[in-house]
């Protein structure tokens, strides 16, 4: 079900996300003080290449990582096998990526 390539991809994306998650948490802890507002978020992120790269990588990594993770669960707990399993993985991965990309675009350049 998981082969060496998928395994490595999942580990590499996990490693990539670790600092991103910490960064994201730090920002959030800082940001929620005194409440959140759309303006505040957008003010920080709007038009910033840096934030675009930060969240863009995050969204891409999470899509790959999450899709592979859900694949394991779908195989072991739902019993999906073979082509259905591959299709499920691609579908979740692509939709996760699409939604993530849209969100990142929304808070940065849209």
């Amino acid at each position: 079900m998981l082969n060496l390539r998928l395994y490595m991809l999942q580990r590499v994306t996990a490693l990539l996300m670790a600092p991103l998650v910490l960064g994201h948490l730090a920002v959030m802890i800082y940001a929620v003080q005194g409440g959140l507002s759309a303006g505040e978020i957008l003010g920080r992120t709007q038009g910033s290449i840096l934030w675009f790269a930060f969240y863009g990588t995050f969204a891409a990594a999470v899509a790959v990582h999450g899709a592979i993770g859900l694949r394991s669960i779908a195989c072991e707990w739902v019993g999906l096998r073979g082509r259905a399993l591959d299709a499920f993985m691609w579908l979740t991965g692509l939709s996760l990526f699409a939604m993530g990309a849209r969100a990142v675009w929304a808070v940065t350049f849209a």
Binding site: M1, N3, L4, L6, Y7, M8, S72, C75, E76, W77
Partner: protein
Amino acid sequence: MTQETLKVTIDRGPDTAHVQTVFDVPAYTNQTVLDVVSWVQQNADPTLSYRYACRVGMCGSCAMMVNGVPRWTCRTHISKVLRGNAVTIAPLRNLPVIKDLAVDMDPFFDKWVAAEGVHHGALTRDDPIAPVDTSTAARAVADAGIECINCSVCYAACDTVTANDDYLGPAALQRAWTLLNDAKDDGRAAILDAVSDKGGCHNCHSIGSCTTYCPNDLDPMSAIAGLKRETAKSLFQRWR
């Protein structure tokens, strides 16, 4: 003194309906789980099926689920597993039941072979025996898993085996790891390929039940981690 009795509940098969039979078994001072099962067959229900051979923890054919835990029954004293005076005994998990407490171990051994758990080498009986330096780190790693008696207890304990038919399982992978570290074995490429296949080591989630329940105190989880490292390394080498 009146003889104490044990309440022994035994799963009967192979029918999928969950049938259990309860027996009253006299308690004795020295009594293993296997002795309890044997008593039932010899005295109470002659049709009860189970398997054993060596009766001393060497052959690995007597493993069963005892109160939901996989154990070798010939070396488990009944006092260790009694709850009050009751115990439940079922066939080993993750293998097809032939009848009652006897399971078909073929899938376990098929996977053992599929993991390349067989010596690879070019030397013959006409060559001298190769000297082996036993002080190397690799030899220590190979020795760590060599005493596996293929009892399938770890295989029964592993949830990944339950969930994924293809998964080779802890014992077979541990055997592959032993061979990979054996200076006498030439099968490196074949082993790495076999354990990277779809049922290979990468399916293991390090649940660790294998290591927790191995009656021989072996550590398949760490062996599998070793395979993950080696396969990852070989991937980088291929990329280079």
